[in-house]
């Protein structure tokens, strides 16, 4: 700690940070642009000037940039000093030389950091009387709108996009007052993290293009804390709604999870909520086999009749439905008649993940912890495409060990340019084994591509190299054996090593191998973290809940024990091979589907009930860390849409469902701690979903009724669908705004943190449900080496950030980024098969056959064929699996 005097008042502050961080953490209003808590300081904008005094006798002082000066004990500064204030106002005047005065037509208006800082400095009159410089804008693709004239050259965009996120196609061009931030030529920004530019940019240069399609002013959006549903990481989001339409998704800061950022799938996947394929009213199949609308009351009555006491029905849940919806189904049909909605092949790795997290010894890392790891082993998982934000964190983790260089040179970690100059391209140890090259290979110390079995065996070999008690793995090729030694050494030498793996290879052996490496490290009294990704937003939740597989569901129906199947938020056709799904759907006499979006499964249902999405309903999801997080209903849907749990249980509120769940399933008991209960009040008030500047409240429904409507009741949360209510300090789990006086932009978040970049005041959202038993357990046996028959291939899954996730792919902006389906082959295999890029290849697995154009994947291991998961036209198969490939007959 250090004592810092600010305008002659002493404050205790953390030393080592810079003056700007110290001032903001103390709650002072000090304007800035180029500094960002995640990006550090570079001193370019000169906005955060303060007066620094030599000692208490120094009355003159000198102007310094607070972001570039480390706090030293007994330091004396002034924020109020007239000269410093005047300088700060002048910096704004300079920025306004070329900034257009187009706030009224700018998408950023109302949440613009530049507007806030302008007002804060008091600059109000621009003396510049000459012409402004102008630029051409670029088409940057479906996500980002570009308006370069507004640029104030803070350099944050390129520092974020290139240095932080590793993108290469955005840069700064030209010099002096003609500096230009954009691409070398028009074109889609390639980075899957491009959307963060919208929030990183302090003004309206980079804005959300999807919001622009259905623009509404930021203060006119109704919002509630939410959780992203497009992968298993559970990034926190703030969706915004007006007139019953979801307008955009913004980052919601969670210090332990996503911090300041989201991936583009998470930010732009939201439009499935507004899509024409949404189910908006109960539908019943008529005599002609067509679905036709019926009233919600009729639907409820018939549902009761069909399910009855549950003894003739089975329930199929879903890893993309909330805990509450899955639990409600389980309650309605009985635990023995509840199925997870996953095939055996999907459940096996997921079960392995849950087992490892439960038994330990390693603790599952949060995304925040992941970014602090200093040695990384990734087994089988292409995190850049399956859990994108984890890849962004791992990129930061690769800098942890080289930061020692900066430390030796006494460069503070926030002094970004100095650190990057000192560190250059040094990377910490990161080893990757995967079937095909991954999005993180460019950071890898060494990467190897091999079969899923051999990836698992490599993991066990590393475990054995660390702990001789781990099983011996033989027949590793020489190259791999040498790599094993390197990996073991790097992990042993590290302070915070982490083993990353996941379910996307569909191979439980790989997951267990990751667990084995952590066991080996613990056996040596070394610490290690484990980070296991799961495919969907509630995969781990469904694993914790338990239930049978789809194969078992099919058996149950075939046995005649049940004749009704209730499917909740699950397109079974995405889960397993067609024959199994057809068996389930055809052997049930009555098929009820509760879902929010039309799909192949709703098409064969007798009844379809409209379920709420995360935007128009409440629920809880468990992310890959084992963290339960609550999402709150953002807006009231117009028709009979309600949460699946509400269709299924006669519960008054979600709290009741959670209470019942806690009783039935003790591991999930802490779920009710994720958020204050519905009857919680803050100074006798509910929490607001609407900003105090929300306009049109009394006019927006005037076309139907001139009376001001009552706010819709909300039995499930302490929020109100109104702008009247409590706006003071709240726990992190229910914070849905970054607004404080003078801070309208997302930058205002520092007012809600313990210290800038730290945890939220009142705690970061979410409750960890799984803590490992720290007891040593036996090692599992490694899988046998792959033995393929001559001429046979092993089909492995390839995930794409855009397209491999079902719901986001329905959002028009994301759909534009989904590539056409293909069959991936190693160049040598392709040559041996007489296939070249674009030619049709035919792939056969059992009875399934498909023909798709060939894509040459240089990094795909020989003997493997890559199948892009989820892309239109790619059959659903349980991968990895033996397959045959040949040239397709014309």
């Amino acid at each position: 700690m250090a004592t810092l005097f600010i305008d002659n008042t002493a404050y205790d502050v953390k030393d080592g940070q810079n003056l700007l961080e110290a001032c903001l953490s103390l709650g002072f209003d000090l304007p800035y642009f180029c500094w960002h808590p995640a990006l550090g300081a570079v001193g370019s904008c000169r906005q955060c000037a303060v007066k620094l005094f030599h000692d208490e006798h120094d009355k003159k002082g000198r102007i310094v940039m607070s972001c570039m000066v480390p706090v030293v004990d007994q330091m004396r500064i002034s924020i109020k000093d007239p000269e410093a204030r005047s300088f700060r106002a002048k910096v704004i005047e300079w920025l306004m030389v070329n900034h257009p005065h187009d706030c009224p037509v700018c998408d950023e208006g109302g949440e613009c950091h530049l507007q806030d800082m302008t007002v804060m400095t008091g600059h109000d009159y621009r003396r510049y009387r000459f012409t402004k410089r102008t630029h051409n804008n670029q088409d940057l693709g479906p996500f980002i709108n570009h308006e370069m004239n507004r640029c104030i050259q803070c350099y944050r965009c390129v520092r974020y996009y290139r240095d932080y996120a590793g993108g290469r196609d955005l840069n700064v061009f030209s010099a002096h007052d003609n500096v230009y931030f954009g691409r070398q030529q028009d074109g889609t920004l390639e980075s899957p993290f491009s959307g963060n530019l919208v929030e990183v940019c302090p003004t309206g240069v980079f804005t959300d293009k999807t919001l622009k399609q259905h623009y509404t002013r930021p203060w006119d959006m109704q919002t509630a804390p939410s959780v992203c549903v497009h992968c298993g990481l559970g990034c926190n989001t703030l969706p915004g709604e007006r007139y019953g339409m979801l307008r955009r998704v913004r980052n919601r800061y969670n210090g332990a999870v996503n911090g300041y950022f989201l991936c583009d799938r998470g930010r732009y996947g939201y439009e499935f909520v507004n899509a024409d394929t949404r189910i908006r009213q109960p539908l019943q199949k008529n005599k002609d086999g067509e679905l036709e609308a019926v009233s919600p009351e009729a639907a409820t009555a018939l549902l009761s009749e069909w399910i009855g006491d549950g003894s003739r029905a089975i329930g199929i849940g879903s890893p993309r439905a909330s805990l509450e919806s899955n639990f409600a189904l389980r309650q309605r049909v009985g635990a023995q008649r509840f199925f997870t909605g996953l095939s055996e092949a999907q459940m096996e790795p997921l079960q392995a993940i849950y087992d490892i997290l439960k038994t330990g010894p390693a603790r599952s890392l949060s995304l925040k912890d992941l970014g602090e790891a200093d040695a990384i082993l990734i087994l089988g998982e292409d995190v850049a495409n399956t859990a994108p934000l984890a890849a962004l964190r791992l990129r930061q983790a690769s800098r942890v060990q080289p930061m020692e260089i900066a430390k030796r040179l006494r460069i503070p970690p926030w002094d970004d340019n100095a650190v990057r100059n000192a560190v250059q391209d040094d990377r910490g140890p990161m080893y990757i084994a995967s079937p095909a090259g991954t999005g993180l290979n460019y950071l890898a110390t060494r990467a190897v591509q091999t079969t899923p079995d051999d990836i698992a065996r490599l993991g066990y070999a590393v475990a054995h190299a660390i702990d001789p008690n781990a099983p011996v793995v033989e027949v590793m090729s020489n190259g791999l054996q040498e790599m094993v030694g390197q990996i073991a050494q790097a992990l042993i030498a590290a302070k915070n090593p982490v083993i990353v793996s996941g379910a996307s290879c569909g191979h439980a052996g790989i997951v267990r191998a990751a667990g084995a490496v952590t066991k080996a490290l613990y056996a040596h009294k070394l610490k290690a973290g484990i980070f296991l990704t799961v495919p969907e937003c509630n995969s781990l939740g469904i694993a914790m809940m338990g239930g049978g597989s789809l194969e078992e569901a099919a058996e149950r129906l075939a046995s005649g024990d049940a004749d009704t199947v209730v499917i909740v938020e699950n397109d079974l056709h995405q889960r397993a091979e067609q024959p199994l799904i057809e068996r389930i759907l055809s052997s049930a006499k009555r098929v009820v589907v509760i879902d929010h979006t039309m799909n192949d499964t709703t098409a064969s249902a007798d009844w379809v009930l409209p379920a709420a999405t995360y935007a128009d309903g409440d629920g809880t999801l468990v992310n890959n860390e084992g963290r339960a997080q609550r999402y709150f209903q953002v807006y009231v849907p117009e028709h009979g849409t309600r949460e699946a749990w509400r269709w299924l249980l006669d519960a008054e509120s979600i709290d009741q469902v959670q209470t019942a769940m806690a009783e039935a399933l003790p591991p999930l008991a802490a779920v009710s701690d994720t958020a204050p209960p519905a009857d919680a009040r803050f100074v006798d008030q509910r929490l607001v979903r609407k900003s105090h500047r929300y306009t049109g409240w009394t006019a927006m429904h005037a076309g139907k009724d001139v009376h001001e409507p009552y706010a819709a009741p909300d039995p499930d949360s302490p929020f109100t669908f109104s702008l009247e209510g409590y706006r003071g300090p709240v726990p992190g789990s229910v914070r849905n705004s970054t607004w404080t006086p003078g801070w309208n932009s997302p930058q205002g978040i520092s007012k809600f943190q313990d210290e800038v970049g730290g945890p939220l005041r009142g705690g970061d959202p979410g409750v960890r449900l799984i803590e490992p038993e720290q007891t040593q357990s036996e090692y599992d046996s490694p899988p046998l080496p792959s033995a393929r028959r001559e001429g046979e291939y092993e089909a492995v899954p390839i995930c794409h950030v855009f397209g491999s996730e079902e719901l986001s792919a329905r959002a028009p902006a994301i759909a534009q980024r989904v590539r056409p389906a293909y069959i991936g082959l190693n160049p040598e295999d392709a040559a041996a098969l007489g296939l070249s890029k674009g030619e049709a290849a035919s792939l056969t697995v059992g009875d399934t056959e498909c023909a798709l154009p060939v894509e040459i994947i240089e990094t795909l291991s020989r003997g493997m064929v890559g199948l892009p998961i989820g892309l239109p036209g790619v059959p659903v198969l349980s991968l990895p699996t033996p397959a045959s490939v040949r040239k397709a007959r014309p």
């Binding site: 570079v42 001193g43 370019s44 904008c45 000169r46 906005q47 000037a49 000198r62 102007i63 310094v64 570039m68 300088f87 002048k90 910096v91 300079w94 920025l95 030389v97 070329n98 003396r127 510049y128 000459f130 104030i152 050259q153 350099y155 700064v172 030209s174 010099a175 002096h176 007052d177 003609n178 500096v179 260089i405 040179l409 006494r410 460069i411 002094d415 340019n417 100095a418 100059n421 000192a422 560190v423 250059q424």
Partner: protein
């Protein structure tokens, strides 16, 4: 006749090749340093000779070198970088050395790199200096062929590689840290200090950046000793100085003279005085980024301390003359236009302030100026001063403007009052 160690053998039309240069005593310093002196001895000698940097800032060269981490534990590779990006308006002294005696440059590189135990030396050369580029590269080839560069030079165990890098052409590359960024292939923007290049320089490794003229003195210091060097100067810091004069004098040019020669002697004797019919109104003593001095200052000794005491800086030591038939507003406008164009665009005051000033000065010169404009000019002189901006470019640009607003204020006011340029008819 005073000694002219730096330019004695300079031949602009046909510089000495390695053989010729060796015949006049060249590469003797390499032999002396590498075979009889320890690196630390060279640093001490340079420190004792009290040579100050000739690039403009006048920092003690020996002191700069002494910050370099030395010995077996020092990080390697270490670098010596020659700042040969001579782009200061009105300055053409290094060009004389580079084109006239390329081998002297290479010899200076070798002994200086040896002193700081550098593994690689880069000569960062102004892109337009095509002749110098060709001559330096030829000299480097000859030095490699003779064993003055490369592995185990003269059997001393010391190895050095040397490369010429031609700049893509920005004034800011003369700023040593921007130069390092440019050399790494990055945008030429200055770096924050600390860390200084001595600890984290080129590619994050210990680096010394020195001006061409500064380094060219080193072989002579080694050959003749510190006392000889100190005696060359009329001031407390040692050596001769390359002075230059441009503007409407009779014989503009560059001359090597004792450090501390008066401005009067340089202008009146060496430059032949003002052209007929013209009177001296003022002069920038050391390039465009120094304050105007007036005829009252003609007897100031052109040394670091004396020029500073007179209210300006010695800078590069190459003067630009303002005569009484040239509009001072136009002259300053021309310089601010240069600085505005050469701003790297990194920090706000420089990037946005200078183009504004350029437009204001244009307005004033063209008779569109207002009283408030003068106020804005004054304000910028203060706000673009040292400490306010990221590097010294904008404060340097404010030197001629600020001093012109003091010495020639009446000229600015007349433009505004008469709504025209009095020098234009």
């Amino acid at each position: 006749m005073t000694e002219r160690p730096l330019t004695e053998h300079a031949r602009l039309d046909d510089p000495l090749d390695l053989r010729g240069y060796t015949q006049v005593g060249g590469y003797q310093a390499v032999r002396t340093a590498l075979t009889t002196m320890a690196p630390a001895d060279v640093v001490t000698l340079v420190k004792d000779s009290r040579i100050r940097g000739r690039g403009g800032a006048g920092f003690s060269t020996g002191l700069k070198w002494s910050f370099m981490p030395m010995g077996p534990d020092a990080p390697h590779p270490k670098y010596l970088v020659v700042n040969a990006d001579e782009m200061e308006p009105g300055t053409f002294k290094d060009r004389l050395l580079l084109e006239g005696t390329p081998h002297q440059m290479i010899e200076a590189v070798i002994v200086s790199a040896y002193a700081i135990e550098a593994d690689v030396a880069y000569i960062f050369l102004r892109g337009e200096y095509k002749v110098a580029e060709e001559r330096l590269n030829r000299a480097i080839r000859e030095a490699y062929d003779t064993g003055y560069l490369g592995k185990n030079i003269l059997g001393s165990g010391y190895s050095l590689d040397c490369y010429v890098h031609t700049s893509a052409g920005r004034y800011i590359c003369g700023e040593e840290t921007a130069l390092l960024n440019a050399l790494e292939g990055k945008r030429a923007i200055p770096r924050s200090k600390p860390p200084f290049p001595q600890t984290s320089g080129l590619w994050g490794k210990p680096t010394i950046v020195n001006n061409v003229e500064t380094l060219c003195n080193i072989p002579h210091i080694i050959n003749h000793g510190k006392d000889w060097f100190l005696k060359l100067s009329l001031t407390t810091s040692g050596g001769t100085k390359l002075y230059g004069v441009s503007g409407k004098v009779k014989t503009p040019g560059t001359w090597e003279l004792p450090m501390g020669t008066t401005a009067r002697e340089i202008i009146e004797q060496h430059a032949g005085g003002m052209q007929d019919g013209l009177r001296l109104r003022g002069f920038l003593p050391g390039g465009a980024s120094t304050d105007f001095l007036t005829p009252d200052h003609l007897d100031v000794m052109m040394g670091f301390d004396a020029v500073q005491a007179a209210g300006s800086r010695l800078g590069t030591g190459t003067m630009i003359i303002l005569d009484d038939k040239t509009c001072p507003v136009g002259m300053v406008r021309n310089m601010i236009a240069f600085f505005a164009h050469e701003s790297c665009g990194w920090c706000t005051p420089c990037r946005e302030g200078l183009p504004w000033l350029e437009k204001l000065l244009a307005a004033i010169e063209e008779g569109r100026g207002t009283e408030q404009d003068l106020h804005i000019l004054d304000e910028h002189v203060r706000l673009l001063g040292p400490g306010m901006t990221y590097c010294a470019l904008a404060p340097g640009a404010m030197a001629p403007l600020g001093s012109a607003l003091i010495h020639f204020r009446e000229d600015f006011e007349r433009h505004i009052r008469e709504k025209r340029c009095p020098w234009k008819h």
